[in-house]
């Protein structure tokens, strides 16, 4: 009998990427025997949370599903880093500001500027007027630029394809080059109307690179990330960054980041429970840099999930010819799926991963023994014999769309 390890979201062992990421262990295969046998799984102490069952409709029946794995498949459920690269920025302005003129930093000739008017959901609020691109004026210093735009896209053109309603856009003429420009709207706008100004500099050498080691985090821990403003030669020094978290409900929470050895971290603040299961949080970064006198603005964001540990696999698994029996410690009522890759002994006498099996059950709080059923007919077709072994085990809270545990 060999020991295997399964790490939980909140546990950290030698292979973990950061304190806040979904963790993996190196060894996972459960020992299996032809007859029922027990397999030890070492788990760290986990503080589970008890929360009420979600209100939305949740399947109550136990369901099992197995599928054959493709030959020589390179399946991995390991957490993956995510990187976002931005060549654009955006800001919010009022109609009054647009009528007076706003300053925009341009780093790439031919940049596209999109102006989108806010349409309030509040019927008492005045709706913003779509801006006529013919009424947009561009100047540099004191000089109004003629032939400033190579393309103008009207609200009607956007709206006919239902893209960016209440929006218009202008593309700067290439000959204008880079630098600071003043954009002014000559069309009379209501002072308090709000507009989004989006400067898109496709292909700009000035970029904000934002990356996180995992998109699955746990509550109250640190989110680790990297952020770099760069040009084609490398990192821009002395860049400034502002960060905020956007919750699934749309609330914005300003956060402070800390830098240690070139890496950044933010301690996740107390946030209201995610009422919208499956909906994600976002880390937003607004950066300002300077490249030899040229101002560079960039915005970037990455999405992530915050799991709440509502259940865990305990240390015992029994595997037999038709199923594995797994003990779950359930703290919150809900629907949970366990899954694993099943290996058997092939004709050459070697262990071979052949099947992905999944079972889901609706469970009440407490210690629960649940089956992970195998498709025995499929195993026969796949021509493998016992002993069967489990790897890549996962526990998922389907009712809250949270990945809780994986090998």
């Amino acid at each position: 009998m060999s020991k295997s390890k399964i790490s939980l979201l909140s546990a950290c062992i030698s292979t973990c990427i950061s304190a806040s990421t979904l963790l993996l262990s190196n060894s996972v295969a459960a020992t299996t025997l032809a007859s029922t046998n027990a397999t030890q799984i070492t788990t760290n102490d986990i503080e589970l949370v008890s929360i009420s069952a979600p209100l939305h409709k949740i399947e109550q029946k136990s369901l099992h599903f197995s599928q054959a794995l493709a030959k020589n498949s390179t399946l991995s459920f390991a957490v993956k880093p995510y990187t976002s690269i931005s060549d654009e920025y955006w800001l919010e302005v009022t109609g009054k500001q647009l009528n007076s003129g706003i300053t925009l930093a341009i780093t790439k000739p031919g940049a596209l500027i999109r102006l989108s008017g806010k349409k309030s959901e509040d019927p008492t609020q005045v709706e913003s007027i779509a801006i006529d691109p013919e009424q947009i004026e561009l100047s540099q210093g004191q000089q109004i630029l003629s032939k400033a735009f190579s393309q103008k896209v009207s609200q009607q053109q956007f709206a006919t394809a239902n893209i960016f309603p209440n929006s218009s856009a202008v593309e700067l003429a290439q000959h204008l080059g880079r630098g600071e420009f003043k954009l002014k709207v000559n069309q009379a706008l209501n002072s308090d109307e709000r507009y989004l100004v989006n400067v898109k500099e496709k292909g700009s050498k000035h970029k904000l690179t934002l990356s996180i080691p995992s998109q699955t985090l746990i509550a109250k821990q640190n989110i680790m990330f990297d952020m770099t403003m760069s040009n084609s030669q490398g990192k821009l020094t002395n860049s400034k960054h502002n960060a905020h978290i956007k919750t699934p409900e749309g609330e914005t929470i300003a956060v402070n980041y800390q830098e240690v050895n070139g890496k950044y971290s933010i301690k996740l603040p107390e946030m209201p429970a995610n009422k919208n299961y499956g909906k994600l949080y976002e880390l937003h970064i607004a950066s300002q840099g300077n490249d030899k006198g040229l101002k560079v603005n960039r915005n970037g964001k990455v999405a992530f999930a915050i799991a709440r540990p509502t259940a865990k696999m305990t240390s015992n698994i029994a595997v037999n010819l038709t199923h594995a029996m797994i003990e779950l410690d359930i703290a919150s009522e809900g629907r949970y799926e366990i899954s694993a890759i099943i290996s058997g002994v092939n004709k050459q006498g070697k262990e071979e991963q052949v099947m992905l099996s999944r079972s889901a059950h609706y469970l009440q709080p407490g210690l629960q023994q649940v089956n992970l059923d195998f498709d025995t007919q499929l195993l026969k077709t796949l021509q493998v014999l016992p002993p069967y072994q489990l790897s890549e085990m996962r526990l998922v809270d389907q009712s809250r769309m949270a990945l809780l545990q994986q090998q």
Partner: protein, 285 residues
């Protein structure tokens, strides 16, 4: 002689299989809350052409669901599951082809990837012979990110056939990366989908005013789609980058490889009878 005999036997077996299969096709729309997708999303010309590829051309259904929602919610995947199961039961379908466009591919992938989530899913999975996914937004699109820029603007900015929708949020690039890595099958390194998921990729937008090809499915759309390419890389259909469209399953063909006149298919054109797309699909089912 042996080869001829083998060919005859294989043909006979194919005929037998064809005779025993009761094939049907479901047209599954993209983002938007549809109540008449036959007319408003696909058009009758497209649907009626494609379904001629069935041995019984009446075995088809056009799905109408609320795909402004996240793919997993009842109004989206639940609605789709109900309509597919009704179609399977009422028409005794045992070989189902799912024809999806855009975000419809994600909703289908949700069902195929999560067989234990809902008891309505396994029957669909077991009956589905293949998915033909036209321009699926498998890896999301930067346009969805652009449409949700600025916190206070979420309620104002729209989307193709939908405004302020959760489906737009879902199709942001980093959101789809999370869903693909945690909840969906079919992308690199993830479990394969239980059914073939073959993709038609739209690779360009042709908006030259003098080119009659720009007018298939409406010229005004083409102008808007060409502008949106500022947010996309050089290979895109105006809404989705080719890399997103080919991010799950296997690429069947990139538009110009099979379309009439080697014309590209914009995101609007790939759900209409433009450049023989309908005939190509008809001949495949």
């Amino acid at each position: 002689m042996k080869k001829i005999m083998t060919a005859i036997v294989l043909s006979y077996l194919a005929l037998l299989a064809s005779a025993s299969a009761n094939q049907g096709i479901a047209f599954i729309h993209g983002t938007g809350h549809q109540s008449d997708a036959y007319n408003d999303y696909w058009t009758g010309d497209f649907v009626n052409s494609v379904r001629q590829g069935l041995s019984n051309s009446n075995k088809y259904t056009v799905i109408n669901c609320d795909f402004d929602q996240f793919m997993w919610v009842e109004a989206a995947a639940g609605c789709l599951a109900n309509q597919l199961n009704s179609f399977i039961a009422n028409e005794n379908i045992n070989s189902l082809v799912l024809l999806t466009h855009s975000n419809g591919g994600n909703v289908v992938r949700w069902i195929l990837s999560n067989p234990t989530y809902d008891s309505r899913y396994p029957g669909i999975i077991n009956t589905t012979s293949k998915v033909i996914a036209i321009a699926p937004s498998s890896l999301g699109t930067p346009l969805a990110d652009a449409a949700t820029q600025g916190n206070v603007f979420e309620s104002s900015l729209g989307w193709l056939l939908g405004y302020n929708s959760d489906a737009v949020k879902q199709q942001q690039v980093s959101w789809m990366a999370y869903y693909n890595n945690s909840w969906l099958s079919g992308t690199s390194g993830r479990p394969t989908l239980p059914s073939t998921f073959k993709v038609v990729v739209g690779s360009d937008v042709d908006s030259a005013i003098w080119d009659s090809d720009s007018y298939c499915a409406g010229y005004q759309y083409q102008v808007a789609l060409e502008t949106t390419q500022n947010w996309l890389d050089s290979c895109s259909d105006g809404f989705l980058e080719c890399s997103s469209q080919s991010g799950a399953g296997t690429v069947w063909f990139i538009d110009k490889q099979k379309t009439q006149g080697r014309e590209p298919l914009s995101h609007q054109q790939s759900r209409r009878d433009c450049f023989n797309l309908d005939t190509i699909i008809r001949n495949d089912i």
